[in-house]
């Protein structure tokens, strides 16, 4: 990423007197640190120290309303997780939702990217803009729109289903259908994934497609054996983004039930459960422990994906 640094330094150094060089270099160092300092200060104050503090708080029964009565309780918060029904439910709900939403979102985003990348599509930029558009709608507003569309009594989705002879579904009040409904809602957020896929598709050398054509490969074979391997780094990147976003899922879940997690706890996602522990029940020690578990999960997922990526991600030219 920053290979430009090392190359030029030694040759210039020989030509200059050591004294002047030292002042110039130390000046450059000083200015560099000055310019970067906002981030360094921010990192220490808003990331590093709070992280350590939350690790410490996770070992206590901290409640900000009675900050003086804080007790060190060791690993009790972590032990509590093992038989906290709300947490077990929240974890199960989040994992089950990930199983639906991650593949659906990635496949849809890739499909749309392929569509708006097609050379036989007129007005490609118009379609790109329109598929990106919902991304720009504030999530609370788009959730409200979808609550209306998914409404069982006069929502358009059920009117459409009934028009083709299917039964109406009470999407957001059914324990079975609420996850598919939220996943459908999530398709409105494909904008950035689509654009990143699109950039990946456009970087595939056209010679490969020409070669495949000469070999008589059809569009599906070409897609499977050329496009997918060539854009695998982008698929990998988007997979990480979507997975992390699923573990942070909050706004839609909060808005549809005003944070209650209905129906039957099926929208009590991990992050919503954490919010409730911290800011409704003020169990902030326990919530800190939950936050650390979330962080370990996210970091773990990222590391696992990076470790295994060598097996299925094609890195241009490196092999």
């Amino acid at each position: 990423m920053t290979t430009d640094t090392a190359s030029a330094v030694p040759t210039k150094a020989v030509l200059r007197r050591p004294g002047r060089l030292a002042t110039r270099d130390s000046q450059e160092r000083l200015f560099g640190l000055i310019f970067v300092s906002p981030w360094i200060i921010g990192f220490v104050v808003f990331s590093a120290v709070p992280m350590i503090a939350s690790l410490v708080l996770s070992l206590t029964d901290f409640d900000p309303r009675q900050a003086d009565e804080i007790h060190f309780i060791g690993l009790a918060n972590y032990a509590r997780m093992l038989d906290d029904p709300a947490l077990i439910k929240a974890t199960a709900v989040t994992l089950r939702f990930a199983l639906i939403v991650v593949p659906l979102t990635l496949v849809f985003a890739l499909g749309v990217a392929v569509l708006v990348n097609s050379t036989v599509l007129a007005g490609r930029n118009v379609f790109r803009t329109l598929f990106y558009l919902p991304m720009q709608i504030p999530v609370v507003a788009s959730t409200i729109v979808w609550i209306g569309v998914l409404n069982v009594s006069n929502g358009w989705l059920d009117i459409g289903l009934q028009a083709v002879g299917l039964p109406a579904i009470d999407w957001l009040n059914s324990q079975f259908w609420v996850h598919p409904a939220l996943a459908l809602m999530g398709l409105w957020g494909i904008g950035n994934l689509m654009l990143i896929f699109l950039a990946g598709l456009q970087s595939v050398p056209t010679e490969l497609y020409d070669a495949a054509k000469v070999d008589g490969a059809g569009p599906i074979a070409t897609f499977r054996h050329i496009t997918v391997p060539m854009i695998s780094p982008v698929i990998f990147y988007n997979l990480i983004i979507v997975l992390i976003a699923t573990f942070q899922y909050f706004t839609q879940a909060y808005v549809i039930t005003n944070g209650r997690g209905d129906p039957g706890g099926e929208t009590l996602f991990f992050n919503l459960n954490l919010f409730r522990e911290a800011f409704q029940f003020y169990n902030m020690g326990y919530a800190s422990a939950l936050a650390w578990v979330l962080m370990v999960v996210v970091l773990g997922l990222t590391v696992v994906l990076f470790r295994t990526s060598g097996r299925w991600v094609y890195e241009g030219g490196s092999r």
């Binding site: 920053t2 160092r29 560099g32 310019f35 970067v36 906002p38 921010g42 990192f43 104050v45 808003f46 990331s47 709070p50 992280m51 503090a53 939350s54 708080l57 900000p64 569509l115 036989v120 599509l121 007129a122 007005g123 379609f127 790109r128 329109l130 598929f131 990106y132 558009l133 919902p134 720009q136 709608i137 504030p138 609370v140 507003a141 788009s142 409200i144 729109v145 979808w146 609550i147 209306g148 569309v149 006069n154 358009w156 009117i159 990143i196 983004i241 992390i244 942070q248 909050f250 706004t251 909060y254 005003n258 911290a278 902030m284 939950l290 936050a291 650390w292 979330l294 962080m295 996210v298």
Partner: protein, 360 residues
């Protein structure tokens, strides 16, 4: 392509070229049609939202009302208003006004010929379909405007977003300049550390920072939503740094020879050259802040007058879920500015995402 082909071959080549053009035309039409259908379904909820917002409250409670905003067709007869129904008669279906409903029969008046007087029709009027005409109803917008205290929420949202964007952009320019133009010990390590913070879930720092803000008396104010942004965010720095690296160093060196110091170079060389990237970062951050829900909810739960639109709208939704027209009108008002801005600056948006290669 076959200019030197023998005369005999020509019609054949022309024919296949035509066939190829025809096939290409069919492919283009087919693909464009497919994309149009798909995008229409994809954006259908927006149509639902608009149609619902313009409906009258009473229309939403009638089961067979049309999907578009409409009002029941009425006819004034002898100083009173009557609803119009579609009545099957011997001469086909007529639009008649119902003046006297009974169980097994009803009395109608023909609006096109009221002089003919009341007509008695035998049948159950409840099975008849009402006649509607297209009519936009704006009252939901004014109701949402008042209930939500929209001007106040709008001002809060703009103020919070603008102040946090100001901090985010200024600090990111500064830090990106430091990372792209100066050599100092540990630079690469710091840069990687900064990138690593992207995957750091914000929850892990949430509670201690909340406790500190609580003790500072900042909970219930805008400060926790603004101040941290003055300390550079990894996404913005990354995007700007990548752009700054493409600006030729000769420009800096020329300015340096003219006696410009690092601050001067940043202001008069780097920033003017990097306007597209700065615009992209500004737009992204502004609308990210506009959209933000979790933190405003945490810090402004108890201060409804200071809440941005996102939080106000969520609260409004839970209180007025029985009035879909007002809720959809509120959703339209909340998304109008971001959507209009998106259409005006779509190039900056679409390019910025790919350019940065990162998602907020």
């Amino acid at each position: 392509m076959t200019a030197a082909a023998p005369t005999l071959g020509r019609p054949l080549v022309a024919g296949s070229a035509q066939r190829r053009r025809m096939r290409r035309f069919l492919a283009i039409s087919g693909m464009t049609l497919l994309a149009s259908v798909l995008v229409s379904i994809f954006l259908m909820p927006l149509l639902y939202m608009t149609a619902t917002a313009f409906k009258s409250e009473s229309q939403t409670s009638v089961p067979d009302a049309p999907l578009y905003p409409a009002a029941p067709e009425t006819f004034t007869y002898e100083g009173r208003e009557y609803d119009v129904y579609e009545v099957p008669t011997e001469d086909g279906i007529k639009s008649w006004a119902l003046i006297e409903p009974h169980r097994e029969e009803a009395v109608f008046i023909d609006p096109t010929n009221p002089e003919a007087g009341p007509i008695t029709w035998v049948g159950r009027w409840r099975t008849l379909e009402q006649v509607w005409h297209f009519e936009l109803n704006w009252t939901s917008f004014s109701r949402a405007w008042d209930i939500l205290n929209f001007p106040r929420m709008f001002f809060n949202t703009i103020a919070i977003s603008a102040l946090s964007t100001l901090g985010a952009v200024l600090s990111a320019i500064c830090v990106a300049y430091g990372f792209s133009r100066f050599r100092f010990p540990g630079r690469n390590g710091l840069f990687l550390l900064m990138l690593a913070t992207i995957i750091l879930p914000f929850q892990v720092t949430l509670i201690p920072t909340y406790a500190v803000y609580f003790n500072l008396g900042w909970v219930g104010t805008w400060l926790p939503l603004i101040i941290p942004h003055f300390f550079a965010n990894a996404y913005n720095v990354f995007l700007l740094r990548q752009y700054f690296l493409t600006i030729p160093r000769e420009l800096d060196e020329a300015a340096m020879i003219d006696g410009a110091g690092p601050f001067r170079i940043l202001r008069s060389v780097i920033v003017p050259q990097a306007i597209p990237a700065i615009v992209a970062v500004t737009l992204f951050h502004f609308f990210w802040a506009w959209n933000e829900y979790f933190l405003p909810l945490v810090y402004l739960q108890g201060a409804p007058d200071l809440q941005p639109l996102s939080v106000g709208l969520g609260r409004f939704n839970s209180l007025y879920s029985g009035e879909p027209t007002v809720i959809q009108a509120a959703a339209i008002m909340a998304m109008l500015l971001p959507v209009v801005m998106f259409f005006l600056a779509q190039r900056a948006f679409l390019r910025g995402v790919v350019f940065g290669g990162v998602e907020k």
